[in-house]
Symmetry: C2
């Protein structure tokens, strides 16, 4: 499946917290065909470090497809023979330096100053992300969605949709996500990652554009994130207690000093460094903040009351080995969600199984969308 990036601009997007109004452009992709009745659309929402490239390739020789390619396509669980699938970047997408990410965020030039917004960009929430998606969907002539879903932060967006725009979608599904972020989740990985980036002197209060970016802080933030999204057995199977380099040439042995490396550290770092050229540290701050602020409750409302308002048919798909969104969280949500099911599997690989072990839940998702 060959795909291309599209662009939608909302010239006057109003940010909820600050009330500021800015022009916002967002990149998106679509897979499959919109039918004549415009009633076969499915909206996918991406995860923390993801983009709107959910499926397909930009060219036949593209080395890797989109992040949920295994689930999206003709005859696949999110079946492009039936559905018109839309996926858009979130505001402030972390991959701001990827030339295919054209979405407005802290790296965007502020038209009033001619310089990047940096940390003068407004704080935004998942409510803002979802309102922008709604503007996009409506611009396509679509007033009702078959389903909205996604993994991790994408699942949180699906819950936000159901809470803020009831009836717009017939179904929502959340993989590796529950409708609440607990104080532990505020900290890990979000606030700890914010701390790590701000600690790097290269961050310069967010005004590092044109200078060396705060890559050490960003690397630490992502290491915290990646450890929280994997598991102890996953790490043990990957590398045990091996040193990064048995020869000691590239990395000193761990006992040789503070530059010494175990393989677990270089493995984690390699995952980040492979994509680091695309990541923007300020964008990380904003997305981490948006996750920490995720909250379906109106002021003064408790979680039970907020969840009871979500009448949309809901499926939570939870990995028993997930440290961030746990079966216990899902069980608590089930007490209040009036129309929800939970499907639980155990990959042993943690939160990231939502992206890399989709075979565990592909058929359950197909059934939910049938």
């Amino acid at each position: 499946m060959i795909v291309e990036k599209r662009s939608f601009t909302q010239p006057e997007f109003r940010f909820g917290i600050s009330g500021r109004t800015l022009p916002v452009t967002v990149g998106y992709e679509t897979y499959g065909q919109l039918n004549a009745a415009r009633d076969n659309a499915v909206l996918l929402c991406h995860y923390f470090t993801g983009t709107s490239h959910a499926a397909g390739r930009y060219a036949p020789d593209d080395p890797a497809p989109g992040w949920w390619d295994a689930l999206i396509g003709p005859g696949r669980p999110i079946d492009t023979d039936r559905f018109f699938v839309i996926c858009s970047d979130v505001i402030g997408n972390i991959n701001a330096n990827n030339p295919r990410v054209i979405t407005t965020g802290p790296t965007t030039i502020d038209p009033t100053t001619g310089r990047p917004y940096g940390c003068r960009f407004p704080i935004f929430t998942l409510d803002d992300m979802v309102r922008l998606q709604r503007d996009l969907v409506i611009s396509l002539g679509i007033s009702r969605l078959v389903a909205i879903g996604g993994a991790s932060m994408g699942g949180l967006q699906a819950f936000t949709w159901a809470r803020r725009f009831p009836g717009f979608a017939d179904r929502i599904f959340a993989v590796a996500a529950t409708p609440m972020i607990r104080p532990y989740g505020i900290m890990v990985p979000n606030q700890l990652g914010i701390d790590a980036i701000r600690l790097d002197p290269a961050w310069r209060g967010g005004d590092y554009y044109g200078h060396e970016p705060p890559n050490q802080g960003l690397l630490l933030a992502f290491k915290i994130l990646l450890m929280a999204t994997r598991t102890d057995p996953w790490a043990e199977a990957l590398c045990g207690r091996q040193p990064a380099d048995p020869t000691g040439e590239k990395w000193p042995a761990p006992h040789r000093g503070f530059d010494g490396r175990f393989k677990i550290e270089t493995e984690i770092e390699a995952t980040v460094l492979a994509r680091m050229q695309f990541f923007d540290a300020n964008s990380y701050l904003y997305i981490a903040k948006a996750n920490a602020l995720f909250d379906l409750c109106d002021p003064g409302q408790d979680l039970a009351a907020a969840l009871r308002t979500i009448a949309t048919r809901t499926l939570m798909i939870i990995d028993a080995s997930d440290l961030l969104f746990t079966p216990a969280h899902a069980a608590e949500a089930m007490k209040y969600l009036p129309n929800a099911d939970t499907f639980t599997y155990d990959s042993g690989n943690g939160h990231l199984s939502a992206l890399f072990d989709t075979q565990h839940f592909a058929e359950r998702l197909r059934e939910f969308l049938r």
Copy 2:
């Protein structure tokens, strides 16, 4: 129980990895009386941020007793009517700026330069800690111990004793510790904490003495540590999603920007900041490194073979809610340890229950020492 700090100096202590020989002084405390046969001694080993102040108070108006005071004293599980209890600081104790911590480490003046060692102090391991404890114990005329035990890193030291000096102790007990650190445990909290401190420009390669210390890096390292040693339900019960300051005077509300704080963050920070004046960042690096390097295996030996050599009667006490040393780790160790029992409880509070919820295992420990 009024206690006092004592001091032991080994003028020529040889560090295992580097082979360097340095004078090393260590602070220690004792509780109860050594009997005439000198055969009633119990050695306690302290945790990551602990000291040798395991029990009692330095003065009647001392606000808080030692860290395991609930377990140590006349009639208590570690019964000072029966036992002579010894607890010594580890080399490089993190509380180097506490006037009662007199133990050699990175803050010590190098006699050859007249300046603090800083990161020129030799990398040390738990094997070194234990050899120094052995020198201390032997200096007291004791050649056999009733038991050796401790919590977390203290339990790792007990395993190291049994592995390196078989027969010296009749029993070992390890609370919130198993005889291995997995790659996940290498990273969380150890290597991530090392990264955080080194990221702080105030660290200056370890030569910050006489300057502002790297307190922001140290704070982030401890926040990572504290999150790993607690649990999601603990954090939820403590503060939920409350802001740090409902008035917004001391801290902006979380949605107001990157200085905004949730209560979970200020609660975690308060725990660290209350003791921060005593903490030394370089000492943190060394202790984190020692934990990451913890390994009972000889070169090329696998864990099973190493554990099969530990004939000492062993008790592991494990909290089912502990994220760092888990029931699964204990179950694996039980396959190989020839003479071990495991007692499991579930406080819901995570790793730190070993210090704060001792009622869960106090009677099991009493029975083990009977």
